[in-house]
C-alpha cells in the first residue's frame, strides 16, 4: 500500500528503501525501524505520527542524517547517504536540512541574531553577511525587533520562531520539526503551524513528527507508524504541489 502511495510524477527528495534500524539495549535488540520503504517529494508537507516507541523519532533521526541505518538505503536528493561517515553527514545536514525541536533548542548564551547565524557560521559566511541574513530572517518570522535579546527573554512562541528562522538560515531543502508545538499553548501552536504552512507554500519540504492529530491534520500526508513499520499513509501525493 505504501509503495502505491508513492508517486513518480513528482520529484522526490528523500527515499528510504527497506530501512532497518536496530538498537542494542544491553542484551536486548530493539527494532526501531523494521523494513521501511517510503519516499517524500519535494515541496510536500508530511506528518509522521504514531504512539511512543513506534519508531517515529528514529525515523526522523535517520531522515535528518543524525543517525545511520543498520541496513537498507537512504537517498537524499538522489544521493545514497546511508554509508556516509560522520563528517559527510554533518555536511548534508548543514546544506540540505533544517531542524525545529519541541524544546526549541536555542543556545541560551547567544542572542537571537547569533542563534540564527549559527548555520551560516558553519557554512563559513563572513560576519556582516550573516548578520544581514539573520536580521532578514528574524523579520520574516516577525522578530525583527528582538535580534539583540537572549532566548531567556523571549516567550515560547518567540523562541520557536527564532528556531524556525535558524532552520531557514541555510536555505534547506527539508525542514524537520519534532513536536514543534508540544511546548506551546494552542494559540501559539497554531501560529507556529501557520508559519510552517507558509514555508511549505514557499516550496520547502516539511516533515513534522507529532502525536497530535489536530496538528497532523494540516499536513498533506500523514504517515502512521507502529512497531517500526509504516501502518498506513493518509492523504495523497496527488495533493502535493
Amino acid at each position: 500500500m505504501s509503495e502505491q502511495a508513492l508517486s513518480n510524477n513528482h520529484e522526490e527528495i528523500l527515499r528510504l528503501e527497506n530501512a532497518h534500524k536496530i538498537y542494542k539495549m544491553g542484551t536486548e535488540q530493539v527494532r526501531a525501524l523494521a523494513g521501511v520503504t517510503v519516499s517524500f517529494n519535494k515541496g510536500s508537507f508530511w506528518a509522521i505520527m504514531g504512539p511512543s516507541g513506534s519508531g517515529k523519532s528514529t525515523m526522523m533521526n535517520i531522515l535528518g542524517c543524525l543517525d545511520r541505518l543498520t541496513s537498507g538505503s537512504y537517498y537524499l536528493d538522489g544521493q545514497d547517504v546511508s554509508q556516509l561517515d560522520d563528517d559527510s553527514l554533518s555536511e548534508f545536514r548543514l546544506k540540505y536540512l533544517g531542524f525545529i525541536f519541541q524544546s526549541f533548542n536555542l543556545i541560551p548564551q547567544l542572542t537571537v541574531q547569533r542563534n540564527i547565524e549559527l548555520p551560516l557560521y558553519y557554512l563559513g559566511w563572513d560576519a556582516s553577511q550573516s548578520a544581514a541574513r539573520a536580521k532578514e530572517l528574524a523579520e520574516q518570522v516577525g522578530l525583527g525587533d528582538r535580534v539583540g535579546h537572549r532566548p531567556t527573554e523571549l516567550s515560547g512562541g518567540q523562541m520557536q520562531r527564532v528556531a524556525i528562522a535558524r532552520a531557514l538560515a541555510n536555505d534547506p531543502h527539508v525542514i524537520f520539526a519534532d513536536e514543534p508545538t508540544g511546548n506551546l499553548d494552542s494559540t501559539t501552536g497554531v501560529q507556529i503551524l501557520e508559519l510552517l504552512i507558509k514555508l511549505n507554500e514557499l516550496g520547502k519540504t516539511i516533515i513534522i513528527v507529532t502525536h497530535e492529530p489536530a496538528i497532523a491534520e494540516h499536513a498533506q500526508n500523514r504517515l502512521h507508524m507502529i512497531d517500526g513499520k509504516i501502518d498506513r499513509i493518509e492523504g495523497g501525493c496527488d495533493e502535493t504541489n
Binding site: 533521526n61 543524525l66 541555510n170
Partner: protein, 422 residues
C-alpha cells in the same frame, strides 16, 4: 577572512568564559601562579647571569687573586702584648709566581695601608695602594684625568700618586689638581692622575679596588712606609709585618686559570710554613655562584612546573564539567551541521583563551615579583623578550594539552542523545 574567523572564534571563547567570570578566574589561578613563577624565575636567572658577567668584568675573568691572611695561630699569639706578627706574601713570592709559570701574562704586587692624606685644607684617610703599572692593566678603569702609573715612575722611584674619583672628590681634587702635591702619611706626592673605581663585593671576593684608593709605585711605598704596620686596637698597639697584601695574576686563557691557581697554591705551600695566604679565583667563585643560582632556579622551576600542572588539571576539570553542562549546545551545533573537529576547535579555543589569559595575568604578577625583589634585596633581575614569550607559549601549550581531552569528549557526544539532554 581566515583571520577574522579566528578572531571571531576567540571572541566567542572569551564571551563564553565571561558568562562564568568567577569560575573562569578561579580556573586560571593555577596558570597565573605557574606563569608568574616562570617569569620571576627567568628574570632572576637572567639577572644572575648578567650580574655574573658584570662581576667577571670587574674582577677579570683571567685573574687569580692571592691575598695575605693572618693564620689562625698568628691570630692567637698576636693577642699577647708587644708581639709582632709576621705573615703573608713576600716580594720573593711575587717573583717566583711571575717567573715560574709561562702561561701567566702579567702580575701586580699590591701593598696596602691606610694613611691620613691632606690636600691643602682637606684631609681624609685614604687607602694607599703600592703597586706597579701592571695594576692598571689587571684592574682596568677609566682614566678621568692625567695618567696612571708608568714604568718610569717605578724606575725612578718617583713620589707620584694616582687618585680615585671618589677620594679625589672628597678632598676636592679635580683635573686642575694634577701636578699639585698631596701629603700622604706625612710624605709629599705629586698627583699625576685620577681614575674611576668599582668598589663593592662580587660574590664573596672583594673587588681589588676601592673608592678611596690612592695608587703609588710599590717601591716608593716600600721605601717611605716600610713593611711594618701598626694597628691601634683596644688592647694596645698591634704590630704586623707584611710585605705584600695581594698579588694579582693574569693568565692568558680563562681555561688555564684554575690549573695555574692550583700551581700557585702548591708553590706557596712549599715556602710558607703557615697557611697565611689565600688563593682565590674569581672565575671559579663565579661558577660556584652560578651553580647556587641554578639550584635556586631548579627549585623555582619545579614550583612553576607543579603549579602549571595543577593549573592545567584545573582547566581540564572545569572544561570537562563545561562539556557536560553544554551537552545540549553541542547537540544543537552538531544537528545544525557542525563537524566533530569544529566542536573540538571551539572547546580548544576556549581552553587556550582561558590559559592564555591566565598566562597574561601571571606575566603581570611575574614581572612585579622581580621588581619587588630588586627593590627589597637589591638583587639584579632582568626581564627579556624570551622571559615574556616563553611563559606565554607555555600557557598556550597548557591550554592545548589539557583542553584536548575535554574537547574530544565534547566532539564525541552523540547529537541525538545530546539533544535530549536536560
Amino acid at each position: 577572512m581566515r583571520q577574522t574567523r579566528i578572531t571571531r572564534n576567540i571572541w566567542l571563547g572569551i564571551e563564553n568564559l565571561l558568562l562564568h567570570k568567577l569560575r573562569s578566574l578561579l580556573t586560571m589561578l593555577g596558570v597565573v601562579f605557574g606563569v608568574g613563577s616562570v617569569v620571576a624565575m627567568l628574570s632572576v636567572g637572567e639577572g644572575a647571569s648578567k650580574e655574573a658577567l658584570e662581576q667577571i668584568r670587574k674582577l677579570g675573568s683571567n685573574n687569580i687573586i692571592v691575598s695575605s691572611v693572618k693564620s689562625a695561630e698568628e691570630e692567637q699569639t698576636s693577642i699577647q702584648h708587644s708581639h709582632m706578627s709576621i705573615y703573608g706574601l713576600t716580594y720573593e713570592d711575587h717573583h717566583r709566581i711571575a717567573e715560574s709559570f709561562s702561561d701567566i701574562q702579567q702580575t701586580a704586587p699590591v701593598k696596602l695601608m691606610r694613611k691620613d692624606s691632606r690636600l691643602y685644607e682637606r684631609a681624609m684617610e685614604l687607602r694607599v695602594v703600592g703597586t706597579t703599572p701592571e695594576w692598571f692593566k689587571l684592574v682596568p678603569r677609566e682614566i678621568l684625568a692625567g695618567r696612571v702609573l708608568l714604568q718610569s715612575d717605578q724606575d725612578k722611584q718617583a713620589p707620584v700618586a694616582v687618585l680615585t674619583e671618589f677620594g679625589a672628590r672628597k678632598i676636592l681634587a679635580t683635573e686642575h689638581t694634577i701636578g699639585q702635591t698631596i701629603s700622604i702619611g706625612g710624605d709629599q706626592f705629586e698627583i699625576v692622575g685620577i681614575v674611576k673605581s668599582e668598589s663593592g663585593q662580587a660574590g664573596n671576593i672583594q673587588i681589588p679596588d676601592q673608592q678611596v684608593d690612592v695608587y703609588i709605585p710599590i717601591e716608593v711605598a716600600r721605601v717611605y712606609f716600610g713593611d711594618i704596620f701598626t694597628k691601634r686596637t683596644s688592647g694596645g698597639d698591634e704590630r704586623e709585618m707584611v710585605e705584600l697584601h695581594q698579588i694579582i695574576v693574569q693568565v692568558d686563557e680563562p681555561k688555564k686559570v684554575e690549573s695555574i691557581a692550583a700551581g700557585i697554591e702548591r708553590m706557596l705551600e712549599q715556602f710558607h710554613k703557615k697557611k697565611d695566604y689565600v688563593v682565590s679565583v674569581p672565575l671559579a667563585l663565579l661558577k660556584q655562584a652560578e651553580a647556587t643560582k641554578r639550584t635556586f632556579n631548579i627549585v623555582l622551576g619545579s614550583i612553576a612546573g607543579i603549579s602549571l600542572l595543577v593549573g592545567g588539571i584545573g582547566i581540564m576539570n572545569i572544561m570537562l564539567a563545561s562539556v557536560t553542562e553544554r551537552t545540549r549546545e553541542i547537540g544543537i551545533r552538531r544537528a545544525i551541521g557542525a563537524k566533530r573537529r569544529q566542536i573540538i576547535y571551539q572547546f580548544l579555543i576556549e581552553t587556550v583563551v582561558l590559559s592564555t589569559m591566565g598566562g597574561i595575568i601571571g606575566l603581570g604578577i611575574g614581572v612585579l615579583i622581580p621588581v619587588l625583589i630588586t627593590y627589597f634585596s637589591g638583587m639584579i633581575t632582568v626581564i627579556t623578550l624570551k622571559g615574556i614569550l616563553l611563559p606565554l607559549l607555555i600557557s598556550m601549550t597548557i591550554g592545548i594539552l589539557f583542553g584536548l581531552y575535554p574537547a574530544v569528549r565534547a566532539a564525541n557526544v552523540d547529537p541525538i542523545v545530546a539533544l535530549r539532554h536536560e
